[in-house]
């Protein structure tokens, strides 16, 4: 039952006797866009912390391409909640950060990142500080920093939660377009039911803490999906919402 | 390489210190093969600096010497700055209500913060028939301003400095001499060091003391030049040359620096014994644990005249 991509099997995690993750099993196949939706405090960020190696699970297995994850292997590129750009680094230095930490020389890292600025709509902003960019541009810079690391899977935690609703909609459409072009393997954490429905190939809905997978919702719709107005997307949304608001779940 | 001697002052430079500056300026220290560094007056008393080996020598008050020695501090007086008491109890001249020390009962005294002031004042007032009860506000260096402003009733001064200044400034002052009211006459202050220093560097000590003695003697002989030296050596203090000259004259005329017998710097055993027994009897001599001494110590160990040169 093993295979390519990322796989979690019956993963459990408690903090001081307080169970947070009860029983989490999920898969992300190469090239898939998978989302996790769940109530606040359910343990969504905790799942990513397990995958980045910040936390170790109390039980269960975490496999990548069928091999158990060793601690300290740093196989995945992580994009934290909000953008987490370092305010004191210029955009160019922010985007090369992962490469430099991984040991690449500054010059080589810049050479790797530079050609991507145009595609990410950041051309000409290399020497700006993050505070000089708009919210949407900052998110694009953060995503650029994430993908340029060339890791197998992108772990993205609520990237657009702090943006206003209009900018958020724009960024979702931009991300959908970028994903179609590059077909990154993505595990996205979100609060936003519509975001999950718009972007994902599959949505895992978490129960409240201690979190289990309450429901797995495959989304068989073709990409790209319209920002609003498609009844199919609306159906997926309704399905997610029903699971979330179902008192029995 | 000349030996260096550090010397701590007890007050801003004044005519009590004149011999030090004269010896320095006239090259007496150079001749003696030593280099003297005069440390400016600070909030930490010279006696403390000396007893703790921060300074080699320092200007030490007479009663302070007895108190600290009794408490076990390693201090020895090696040179008497003055031959007779320069201090006196002073108050403003217009105080008709103060005619003798007993009138000081109930008045306010500006103090410097030391246990012996109480003994001195208490003795004087009681000797005069008073109770010895007065208010103390500890003002330290602000005492004189407070007296001049009328904020306090009386304080202690060095006649040859503050007293002369008041005269020159036309400020009416009256005073009581300690010796008139039951307090034995004393050398008001000394240049002192530690036994440890004398044991380790007897030659340097002798060189320093005798050169200093020469300085004071020279100052008595050449008051105009000496006054100029003191003023020039202390540009920061912005001293008034005429005042310094007048102060020096008072020191000379009163035989403070050179006794009528011609002694300069000599420590008089009789005075030391009298004052020692006086402070012992008053109960302010305490041992290292703060308990009053039971027996009178041998005061002759408190000083040494061995380092003076037999000048005369």
């Amino acid at each position: 039952m093993t295979g390519a991509g990322l796989e979690l099997r019956r993963v459990r995690k408690s903090f001081d006797d307080r169970p947070v993750l009860d029983d989490i099993s999920l898969v992300v196949r190469p090239g898939e866009f998978v989302s996790i939706v769940g109530p606040s405090g359910a343990g969504k960020s905790t799942i990513l912390n397990l995958l980045t190696g910040r936390l170790t699970p109390d039980g269960g297995e975490m496999l990548h391409d069928g091999v158990p994850l060793a601690s300290g292997s740093y196989r995945f590129a992580f994009m934290p909640q909000r953008d987490a750009l370092l305010p004191w680094l210029r955009i160019i230095d922010n985007t090369t950060l992962g490469l430099e930490v991984a040991g690449m020389k500054r010059k080589a890292a810049r050479a790797r990142v530079a050609p991507l600025f145009a595609e990410f709509g950041l051309d000409g902003f290399e020497r700006h500080f993050p505070a000089q960019l708009s919210g949407g541009m900052r998110q694009r810079a953060a995503l650029l920093r994430t993908v340029v690391q060339g890791k197998a899977v992108l772990l993205v935690d609520e990237p657009f939660g702090a943006l206003d609703a209009l900018t958020r909609t724009q960024m979702q459409q931009w991300l959908a377009a970028m994903w179609m072009r590059h077909r990154w393997t993505v595990l996205l954490i979100t609060h936003d039911v519509r975001e999950a429905a718009l972007l994902s190939d599959r949505v895992y809905v978490l129960s409240a803490r201690p979190a289990r997978i309450a429901r797995t919702i495959p989304v068989w719709l073709p990409h790209p999906r319209p920002a609003a107005g498609s009844p199919e997307v609306a159906t997926v949304e309704a399905e997610i919402l029903n699971t979330l608001f179902n008192p029995e779940f | 390489q000349p030996a260096t001697v550090t010397m701590a002052l007890d007050w801003t430079p004044n005519t009590n210190h004149i011999g030090l500056f004269v010896a320095e300026a006239k090259g007496f220290y150079d001749e003696a093969g030593i280099e003297v560094q005069i440390l400016p007056y600070s909030d930490t008393s010279a006696a403390t600096l000396v007893a703790n080996h921060v300074a080699d020598f320092g200007v030490i008050g007479s009663i302070g010497l007895f108190i600290q020695r009794a408490a076990g501090a390693d201090l020895v007086a090696t040179y008497a700055l003055v031959q007779t008491e320069t201090g006196r109890l002073v108050f403003n001249g217009d105080r008709e209500d103060i005619q003798s020390p007993k009138d000081l009962d109930g008045k306010t005294y500006a103090g410097f913060g030391g246990g012996w002031e109480d003994v001195l004042l208490g003795t004087m007032i009681r000797y005069d028939g008073g109770r010895g009860e007065y208010e103390t506000v500890t003002l330290g260096t602000s005492a004189y301003e407070a007296l001049y402003n009328g904020a306090v009733d009386f304080t202690l001064e060095v006649y040859t400095w503050e007293g002369v200044k008041a005269e020159r400034d036309g400020r009416e002052q009256r005073a009581f001499r300690y010796a008139d009211f039951g307090v034995p006459d004393q050398h008001t202050n000394f240049i002192g060091t530690t036994e440890a220093y004398l044991a380790a560097q007897p030659d340097t000590a002798r060189a320093f003391i005798s050169a200093t003695q020469k300085g004071y003697a020279y100052a008595v002989e050449h008051p105009d030049e000496a006054a100029g030296i003191l003023v020039a050596a202390n540009p920061d203090a912005a001293l008034d040359r005429d005042f310094v000259r007048a102060s020096l004259q008072a020191l000379i005329d009163g035989h403070y620096l050179r006794s009528a017998a011609g002694d300069v710097g000599t420590i008089d055993p009789a005075k030391m014994d009298a004052v020692g027994n006086f402070v012992f009897a008053s109960g302010i001599l305490r041992d290292a644990d703060g308990k009053p001494l039971k027996d009178a110590p041998d005061f002759s160990t408190y000083y040494s005249t061995d380092y003076l040169s037999p000048l005369q």
């Binding site: - | 600290q68 913060g113 030391g114």
Partner: protein, 265 residues
């Protein structure tokens, strides 16, 4: 039952917190004691802590008397300072132009070296409580004023807009929103200022006074009794720490909403 358990676990936690602190303080004192004993250093240079404690105990009545005088000076001075800081903060809040005019003057007062100023203040104001009050106020007034003004500025603009929409007057907004908003800043300032207040009071006594720990220290110093100096330092530090602790307690009592929010979520 629950209460008793909660109390015990709070106590355990407090001890757990205090443990390392106590340990290091005790280590320091024991090390000092050992050094004094084995180095044979003279007690006029560095008295052993045991001696300091013994002397503090022996002279407890005198020390208490002087301590009370210092406490009084601190209390009066600090109270005046607080009152003045509050009145000026009101003024500056209602007439913001005044801020630019007054603050630079206050900033300059903060750069004055106290040792130079204290004797002058004593000469100008006499030897009573007044120069102490002035000096303590001089030290603590501006930090408290800044704390209050910062606190007012930290008021949520939305809350002010809300009150304004209800027709609240400027004064009503001040009392209902700005003043409570300033409390955390006020107490942060208070905790620091109270420390300086004690030191300031001792300072002014040192420059001229009839009683107080400053005078006691001066006398002990002039009588060559560093053990008594340190005994007085012990009293003054204890006083400072006690006042510090008191401000923490007052803050908890004055701001119940911050306390509750931690407990019961």
């Amino acid at each position: 039952m629950w209460k008793a358990y909660a109390f015990l676990s709070a106590l355990a936690r407090a001890l757990g917190h205090a443990g390392p602190a106590l340990l290091s303080v005790v280590t320091l004192i024991v090390g000092w004691e050992a050094y004094v004993h084995f180095s044979g250093i003279s007690p006029t240079v560095l008295p052993a802590p045991s001696r300091v404690l013994a002397q503090a105990y022996e002279h407890r009545q005198t020390l208490a008397g002087h301590g009370v005088a210092t406490l009084q000076a601190t209390a009066f001075g600090f109270a005046s300072s607080l009152l003045a800081a509050f009145l000026f903060s009101l003024l500056v809040d209602f007439f913001p132009q005044l801020r630019r005019a007054l603050f630079p003057v206050f900033i300059i007062t903060q750069t004055l070296p106290l040792i130079a100023i204290a004797p002058l203040i004593v000469l100008w104001f006499g030897f009573g409580l007044m120069p102490k009050i002035v000096l303590v106020a001089l030290i603590t007034f501006f930090p408290m004023l800044v704390a209050l003004v910062q606190g007012y500025a930290a008021t949520d603009r939305d809350i002010e807009a809300l009150l304004a929409s209800m027709g609240a007057s400027r004064w009503r907004i001040f009392v209902t929103a700005r003043l409570p908003s300033s409390l955390p800043y006020f107490f942060a300032g208070l905790r620091i200022s109270i420390t300086y207040a004690v030191v300031g009071a001792i300072f002014s006594e040192y420059a001229g006074a009839a009683r107080g720990l400053g005078i006691y220290i001066l006398n002990a110093k002039n009588n060559f009794r560093p053990d008594l100096v340190l005994a007085a330092v012990l009293v003054s530090s204890t006083l400072t720490l006690a006042l510090f602790g008191a401000t923490v307690l007052i803050q908890r009592a004055a701001m119940p909403w911050t306390r509750l929010s931690e407990e019961s979520r």
